[in-house]
Symmetry: C3
Subunit: 356 residues, 3 copies
Amino acid sequence: MATAFKVPSSPKPSETVGFVRNAWYVAAWSTEIEDGILGRMILHTPIALFRQQDGQIAALLDICPHKFAPLSLGKRVGDGVQCGYHGLEFDAGGRCVRNPQGNQKIPPGSQVATFPVVERHGAIWIWPGEPALADVQAIPDFGFFSDPAWKAIYGLGHVEGNYKLSIDNLMDLGHGLFLHKASAGDFGDARCEIEVGQEGEKVWDRRLYPSLDMPEALAARFDVPAGAPMDVVADIEWLPAGLIQNLIAMCPPGKARVEGNMTRGMHCLTPETETSTHYFFANVRNFLLNDPRIDEGLRRWQKDALQDEDSMMVSAVERNTEAAVRLGVQPIYLSTDNAGARVRRVLETLVRRDNC
Amino acid sequence: MATAFKVPSSPKPSETVGFVRNAWYVAAWSTEIEDGILGRMILHTPIALFRQQDGQIAALLDICPHKFAPLSLGKRVGDGVQCGYHGLEFDAGGRCVRNPQGNQKIPPGSQVATFPVVERHGAIWIWPGEPALADVQAIPDFGFFSDPAWKAIYGLGHVEGNYKLSIDNLMDLGHGLFLHKASAGDFGDARCEIEVGQEGEKVWDRRLYPSLDMPEALAARFDVPAGAPMDVVADIEWLPAGLIQNLIAMCPPGKARVEGNMTRGMHCLTPETETSTHYFFANVRNFLLNDPRIDEGLRRWQKDALQDEDSMMVSAVERNTEAAVRLGVQPIYLSTDNAGARVRRVLETLVRRDNC
Amino acid sequence: MATAFKVPSSPKPSETVGFVRNAWYVAAWSTEIEDGILGRMILHTPIALFRQQDGQIAALLDICPHKFAPLSLGKRVGDGVQCGYHGLEFDAGGRCVRNPQGNQKIPPGSQVATFPVVERHGAIWIWPGEPALADVQAIPDFGFFSDPAWKAIYGLGHVEGNYKLSIDNLMDLGHGLFLHKASAGDFGDARCEIEVGQEGEKVWDRRLYPSLDMPEALAARFDVPAGAPMDVVADIEWLPAGLIQNLIAMCPPGKARVEGNMTRGMHCLTPETETSTHYFFANVRNFLLNDPRIDEGLRRWQKDALQDEDSMMVSAVERNTEAAVRLGVQPIYLSTDNAGARVRRVLETLVRRDNC
């Protein structure tokens, strides 16, 4: 009648726990940091981010070494910050430069840790690992975000799940036809050609859906004729630890692989803790740059698909994983997981490298 | 002046921890499951419940073995379910019958666990233990719930406490004169005859309060004259693990023990986790079947007495128990606890049987 | 470029964990206890507080030994309490004096623990330690709270942090110029004379800010001329475990040290748990006793400075401390910490004395 269900005695999660520390992460969008100090937990580490007078960003550990107050509750003073509790001042290099209390001496050991940080492509990038290894050239090229031929829409979400679950979600484009049926349109289970590849640490999945009939909402979002068949290209590419870019192109059938109206996406996943993630997403397009309806369509897509569908599902998976592991459910593998599985293998190696 | 109070160094809870797995539990009211898939945590196990096309209920572990998405976030397809994440389909027996992704092969190991489940007395019953031991005859007879001589009112509560505390509450009718003073009426501390008994695993407590003066609210709820004396019969009976039925009868004095206007109750306690409980309650009556004021009176009773008084107190006891155990408070025993204590002994035996 | 940041492998907090049990704590303001029973967690112990018929306060462990229901959910009966679950009655000495259930016998072992408790200075004082050691003379003299030459304003806050962090906050008056810039006025980083002292377990910090220019809001609160220079005296004094009184005096320059308009404060910190604190604060003044604008000014100060600034910062420090300890941040010491450091040393000794 039913499959015997046994609660196992000692289930074990199979993965190495920990973060990839030696990697660039997005800490904030550029527009989030103006005159104040932004406090944000990154890789389970509280960080205070602020601009110096020349606009350069500084990143300090968000802990005043005096009483452990968050420096982000203080205020900017010159090129540094003043703690809001007792007024100690630290410069952008984390050195205590002023003690307004009592004997006014700078106490020994008052150095605050700092992190390599750089601004690029509309984002603030942070390197939580060994500073000597931080190479700005390793930040992926998201150049189309500053190219006037493209128009960008930025957004920021918060996922109640481990960042690897969000990577699984994005790198496996096969979820789109099901999870995004409401937001992207119902294509049944349209077949596609899939090419999965890897080059060093870079992993990609490229799909071509030939001759899809465009439903009205999607056609409007891409400014292509509704009802007419289109070749749809969906490419996605990952670089460690949480940096993903994708491309969706609507190509008139029979033309070149990538042509026509297209959007490109930046999906930067920054672990907040082991079970929560900052999701920085942005989309650019190469058509109707000044049409506010297209802006609005992309904002709706970011809300509906990336937050209400993707992040909702990732959070549900995170919650369910505790039960799955405890109850001994063995995960199964589908061929659509190929890219995600390669990513996981690279991540495993990097986590082990950074946590030994 | 005051009793010396010492914080003990290593208090120990005295009970076997774990659930009775080989028992029938109410998973849902019948009316909760229509076209969709109901996800509900039962015995700390996520369950997906849905109807097949012929109306029969199926119960699957609510975890897709691919990425651990809750199947209850998907949709019904034919006699099975389709996962809402990647579209894998499972039939009512938990077999993966379709993979719309990539090579479309059914992956090995894709069986989802199922649970014996049956619909009876307006409720969906589930057996979380060994399927071969599931005997539908063991479900208690709540036949009056489908008898036209009775009219039923159903309700569902959620208790922030272990289900055994709710059983203690129900099986010890002595709490009624105090905890339910506001909802049932103030009878001082009226005396009663008590008969406690046990037959195999069944435990009961039967009480007769002779010649109670009926306060107005209670008289109206039972359609008996206010102010006049009534013999009140209050019987309650437990079967493993959380199945309780009770009877309240308003008997004209000097007549037979059970006669006159009466209500019967179904109180099914299904552990959600070790510290929370689904409380399925329902009441039938044998008088004024079509009078909406009596319906309303029973609904108010279910809210005031079963939720705002009983479940509130059970939650307070659950919260206080951590402190009581930590501080070494030794529980005392009253004669009114006789039925509850018998229940606890049976439960201890069954928990040990199912967790060895 | 940046300081190498390493996550340490096994950070260790440096302090003895536990409470000072043999000490007087404020359990409630007198006005909080009228006819009912107040349930309050104190030193991680649930306490039920009520008045006997002659107005004297009783303090019982808030756990009925029958089923562990909180006695504070019951009601007062005579000089004792009746449990709201099954009606057991306990007198002010914690003795079970009535069992209305079943055989009505008082069960053995039904004694509820009690605590020495006394009412003084508008507050209810409790001694959670050894009753034989409870000496009412040890309660500090807050006599000005019942002196008609002073007018009092009472308040109660809840801090999401360990009480020692609130003591640090109060005993280090150096935070005022920074954390209270918005509520007290901006004095830059005005210099002051500091005298820190200790006598037995009593620790104090006394400061004199000569010739401060009074900003308008502060001048109005103290009824002194705005803009004119004033010598400001700020004294604070601690007694175990969480009892602090302070004085702020506005002295015409060149006069005696303490003269002119002044407020005195009572700051009683009672641990609720290891990470939360009841904060009983009250202020008296010796000027314009009948002016409601001064009442209102003190109430605003209690809300803005004691809750929105002090307690907000203490909560932020409590949250940040987990990260600071985990990440191995070594705290630094400023000369303004002298009084707080003495308090911490006394507390360490007392915690060790009471937890060995």
